[in-house]
C-alpha cells in the first residue's frame, strides 16, 4: 500500500482530450505563465490537446511583449513551442494526437484584436464552436 503514495498512476495506453483554458491576462497574475508549464509537460504524455485563449486570456499571446521595465520575465516566446508541438503532431505519422490552438472570436473582437496580433497561428472559433469543442473534452485544466 505504501507505494501508492510515491508511485506513478497507471496512464499507459490511455489517450484523452485535454483542454487548457486560458482566461486571464498575462503579468497581472501568474496563471498564464504557470499554465504554460502544464501544457509543455502534458505534451510528453501524448494526449490530445486543446489550448484555448478566451476572455482576457487572448492577451496572453499578444505580439510585442517587452517586460524589461517591469522586471518580470517575458514568457511569450514559449507559445512558439506550443505551435511546434502542434506542427509535430500534424506531421509525425507515428503520432496521431490532435492539437488545437484556439482563440474565442467574441473575446478577441471585444478587445479590438485580430489573428495578426498574435505570436502564434490560431484557430478562431465563435462561442458556439468552442462550446462544441469543450463538450468533447475529458479533462479541462485552468488557472
Amino acid at each position: 500500500m505504501e507505494d501508492e503514495f510515491q508511485g506513478t498512476l497507471e496512464t499507459e495506453g490511455v489517450r484523452k482530450n485535454f483542454m487548457f483554458l486560458n482566461r486571464k491576462a498575462p503579468y497581472g497574475s501568474i496563471y498564464a505563465q504557470e499554465i504554460q508549464e502544464m501544457v509543455l509537460i502534458s505534451a510528453a504524455f501524448e494526449q490530445n490537446t486543446a489550448v484555448v485563449f478566451m476572455d482576457d486570456g487572448v492577451y496572453q499571446i499578444k505580439k510585442g511583449q517587452d517586460t524589461s521595465a517591469t522586471g518580470m520575465k517575458n514568457f511569450s516566446p514559449t507559445y512558439g513551442i506550443f505551435q511546434m508541438e502542434k506542427e509535430d503532431a500534424e506531421e509525425d505519422e507515428d503520432v496521431d494526437v490532435v492539437w488545437h490552438i484556439v482563440v474565442e472570436k467574441e473575446s478577441m473582437e471585444a478587445r479590438g484584436l485580430t489573428p495578426e496580433d498574435f505570436v502564434i497561428d490560431v484557430e478562431v472559433m465563435d462561442a458556439a464552436e468552442l462550446q462544441k469543442l469543450m463538450a468533447e473534452q475529458d479533462v479541462i485544466l485552468t488557472g
Binding site: 483554458l21 462561442a127 468552442l130 462550446q131 463538450a135 475529458d138 479541462i140
Partner: protein, 100 residues
C-alpha cells in the same frame, strides 16, 4: 458537462463567460462567492432566473449559510445541495469545467 463558478456575479465576469459557453442542459454549480448569484431580488436575479431554463443550476448550501443567505431566498428552480451533492454532480457528468 458540469460547470463550477466560484466568483461573485457583481464583481467578476466568470458567470457571464460560463453562461456564454455552457451547452443547453449543462449543469452549473455555484460555490463560494458565486452563491450570491442564486438569490432573489438582486440586480443579477433576472439573469439567473433566465439561466435556469437552459441549464440545471445548483448552489452550495454551506456557502449560502456561511454568508448568511437564507435558503428560502434562493431563486425557485435553483437546487440547494451540500458537498455530497456536489460530488454526485461531478460523478454524473463526465467533465467538469471550473470558471476561475
Amino acid at each position: 458537462m458540469l460547470h463550477t463558478v466560484n466568483k461573485s456575479p457583481f464583481e467578476r465576469t466568470n458567470l457571464k463567460s460560463c453562461l456564454r459557453l455552457a451547452g443547453k442542459g449543462d449543469a452549473i454549480m455555484l460555490i463560494e462567492d458565486a452563491v450570491y448569484a442564486a438569490v432573489q431580488g438582486t440586480a443579477v436575479a433576472d439573469t439567473m432566473a433566465g439561466a435556469k431554463d437552459d441549464f440545471q443550476v445548483y448552489v452550495m448550501g454551506p456557502d449560502l449559510d456561511a454568508r448568511g443567505i437564507s435558503r428560502d431566498s434562493v431563486i425557485d428552480g435553483i437546487n440547494v445541495v451540500g458537498y455530497d451533492g456536489f460530488v454526485d454532480l461531478v460523478v454524473e457528468h463526465e467533465t467538469s469545467q471550473a470558471w476561475l
